[in-house]
């Protein structure tokens, strides 16, 4: 919602038809609820990024460095030379419009500048002007001719437009699925955000987690003792529910496997219940098969907000995974349920911080399965690991303990489009619960709709934007909620778990959000456990409601 107009403004604007001007002539209007707060200068400074300062997006003066145009132009040139993909993506778009209506932010907001083609055009127009021969020649004839070839000069208004719309893209890549040329608009956003960072124009929801992550190893700035305290607290919960005491190990040298998961699993509901699920699974495997895994309070974050800042920052924050694996001397790594963490691992880690030649090719010590797909990165997604255990009948499961749940599954953009993890989470879900319903085909798997809050947009102040972006996903959930009575939306991403909870509260009340391993924890029969009365959320299990009341 925009600000409430004053009475005289209301009377003078009683004609509600929107402006009919073309996109280039429609000035950017930065609205409350859509933009995220500017980066805290302390966070920018801490990681050595340029031009830390206090600035406010809704003020006229953004306190830019004097030579900001020069910095952007130089940065643009460098990136065109460095990334062949970006150069190609700038040149080959024929504006066919196949991507236009595929973006959740366009669908939900109705703002044409959120059409992926147009969002990219915000940059392309400057590219044509500054870096193409046609742009230079036609520009020399006169300013008015530039529009003919879709070129324009970079000025303050254009820069503000870049900032506003590049932080309305969650880099989900749904648009790229439909592009006949395979243009990855996410890469354009990634590059655009890098350029903005060159002049200190980040948002705080990204900059501060980056600084925290650099300092303490995780986005929230949790220090090792608090991380451990939290898990001790979960262990108490598990004991209360199951009667079994689990004792996870931390920073243990010589362990066979290192486990790295997003810190949201440790500190943000409902992700915490997923964490409880991991702890129960590892305990079960340890008791039954001597499974040997350690957590790390240093590599205490799977997520990587550096990915939303620059390639260099992504590399820097990712480095701790291999560094910790090397320090502890483990053989390979299992990663928890996370989205963009896996995009970084799958697409960048190996070449950025690898080769991890000190690690071994992952082989499940329980089933002997070789994870060929992780041969190079040496890191396996926990959904793959658990699916393999189930496939080999290595888990004792009581699926009735999830009978109060009617479950659907939201494919995280990054695990589905970014690494092709489509079947494993579904296989696990179908084996731990009895009521599973898919959402419509054009809203899942490769065509999945983003939660609306990915790529650092999960702030609170931009709630309207998040609800706009979350609408297409929520609309599909609403359908299965009404048709099948679905009451639980499962996912394998920490941002999803946080973002979809708010989205469901607004769009589809009555649907809660869970990680897949929370449901594994519910169903898993721990050796020596007592009769369970509640699920991991301490809510009575089906048939136990009366016992609970007593």
């Amino acid at each position: 919602m925009s600000d409430v107009p004053k009475p005289d403004e209301l009377l003078s604007n009683i004609d509600y038809r929107p402006s009919r001007t073309g996109w280039m002539d429609t000035p950017v209007d930065i609205q409350k609820g859509i933009y995220s707060y500017a980066a805290n200068p302390k966070s920018v400074e801490y990681v050595g990024l340029p031009y830390p300062r206090q600035w406010n997006p809704i003020e006229e003066d953004w306190q830019l460095p004097e030579n900001w145009k020069e910095i952007i132009s130089k940065g643009f040139r460098e990136r065109l030379d460095r990334f062949r993909s970006v150069k190609v993506f700038m040149d080959i778009c024929v504006r066919c419009g196949a991507c236009a209506d595929k973006c959740h932010f366009f669908i939900g907001s109705g703002d044409p500048k959120n059409m992926p083609v147009l969002r990219a055009e915000l940059l392309r127009s400057v590219y044509r002007n500054d870096f193409t021969t046609a742009g230079k020649i036609i520009g020399s004839i006169g300013k008015n001719f530039k529009k003919i070839i879709g070129a324009r000069e970079l000025d303050l208004q254009v820069l503000k437009e870049w900032w506003y719309y590049l932080f309305q893209c969650s880099e989900c890549r749904r648009c790229s699925v439909f592009c006949p040329y395979g243009i990855d608009t996410a890469e354009i956003t990634i590059m655009g955000r890098e350029l903005l960072n060159l002049i200190g124009l980040n948002i705080d929801w990204i900059a501060t987690p980056v600084a925290n992550c650099y300092r303490t190893g995780n986005h929230l700035g949790i220090q090792p003792h608090a991380y451990k305290d939290m898990m001790d607290f979960f262990a108490d919960d598990i004991e209360e529910i199951t009667g079994v005491k689990v004792e996870p190990s931390f920073n243990r040298k010589g362990a066979e496997i290192l486990f790295v998961t997003p810190s949201g699993d440790i500190f943000a509901d409902p992700g915490t219940y997923t964490c409880v699920g991991y702890m129960m699974l590892f305990h079960y495997l340890q008791e039954k098969y001597g499974f040997d895994i350690t957590w790390s309070t240093y590599a205490s974050e799977g997520g990587n907000f550096g990915f939303f800042t620059s390639h260099e920052m992504m590399k820097r924050l990712n480095a701790k995974m291999y560094a910790e694996a090397k320090r502890l001397g483990v053989k390979w790594i299992i990663g928890g349920e996370c989205g963009h963490m896996w995009r970084v691992i799958h697409q960048y880690m190996d070449t950025m911080n690898g080769p991890a030649d000190f690690l071994e090719e992952p082989v499940s010590p329980i089933t002997g399965t070789k994870f060929e797909n992780a041969k190079s990165t040496k890191m396996v997604h926990i959904a793959e690991f658990t699916a393999d255990l189930i496939k080999h009948n290595k888990l004792e499961l009581d699926t009735s303990r999830n009978d109060h749940l009617k479950v659907t599954y939201h494919d995280s953009c990054n695990t589905s489009r970014g690494m092709g993890l489509l079947e494993e989470p579904r296989y696990v879900i179908k084996n731990v619960c009895n009521n599973f319903y898919e959402m419509p085909a054009n809203t899942i798997r490769e065509q999945t709709f983003c939660c609306g809050s990915g790529s650092g947009l999960n702030a609170g102040e931009n709630m309207e934007l998040r609800m706009q972006g979350g609408l297409p996903r929520a609309n599909a959930v609403k359908y299965v909620h009404e048709k099948h009575g679905v009451n639980m939306l499962s996912c394998v991403c920490a941002i999803d778990r946080a973002a979809l909870s708010a989205s469901m509260e607004y769009w589809v009340p009555g649907v809660e959000v869970t990680g897949v391993h929370e449901m594994v924890g519910n169903a898993l029969i721990l050796p020596g456990e007592q009769k369970r009365m509640t699920d991991l959320r301490s809510e009575p299990l089906p048939g136990m409601e009366e016992d609970d009341a007593e």
């Binding site: 509901d269 709630m463 706009q468």
Partner: protein, 188 residues
């Protein structure tokens, strides 16, 4: 109720026109998409508005049922409450129906003197707008609640979980009355 019959007969055309005016509140490129794409999952905004308006029109023709009306009106208002509209812009689509109906029935209303019926029908539209206003505020309040809760959860819950918050225990000790005034102390 001759007007009602007239409106019922013209339902398809009236709803279509109402829909076109409603989506005309979006930029033209967006409006084209909202109109063209018929898949409800690819175009939740357009399809929600269309189906909602159709059902609301039926309600206006019949005895208005509050529950039914909110079930159709809420999804539309819920969407427009988080889009880039001011409050009046978000709910203005209700009033567009007046224009559509006046245009559609102009001839018959003046020839057959159906002014009273028209006024009655327009009063129903006014009621609809009041319900829309209620729903709009509910949506906005929910957004503020989400914003407030997120802030609270992020800070307080983190402290709480880390054991840094000392809560009031369930069993509090009985308090002993003490008198701290000057006379009381001099008495002792």
């Amino acid at each position: 109720m001759r007007l009602n019959n007239l409106l019922a007969q013209g339902k398809t055309a009236i709803v279509k026109k109402w829909f076109v005016l409603a989506i005309g509140t979006y930029p033209s490129d967006t409006a084209k998409f909202l109109k063209r794409q018929k898949d409800p999952f690819a175009n939740p905004v357009g399809r929600t508005i269309y189906h909602g308006l159709e059902a609301l029109f039926d309600q206006l023709l019949e005895d208005m049922d509050y529950e039914a009306i909110t079930s159709f009106l809420d999804p539309i208002v819920r969407i427009r409450a988080i889009q880039n509209f001011s409050p009046s812009q978000a709910t203005n689509f209700i009033f567009f129906l007046k224009d559509v109906i006046r245009e559609h029935t102009q001839k018959e209303v003046s020839e057959a003197r159906l002014f009273n019926e028209l006024l009655l029908f327009e009063s129903k539209i006014d009621k609809l707008s009041l319900i829309a206003f209620e729903l709009y505020m509910q949506c906005r309040e929910k957004i503020y609640e989400l914003k407030a809760n997120e802030m609270k959860n992020r800070t307080f819950r983190a402290f709480e979980r880390a054991g840094l918050v000392s809560e009031i225990p369930a069993d509090t000790p009985d308090l002993v009355n003490i008198n701290i005034c000057k006379e009381a102390s001099s008495d002792t």
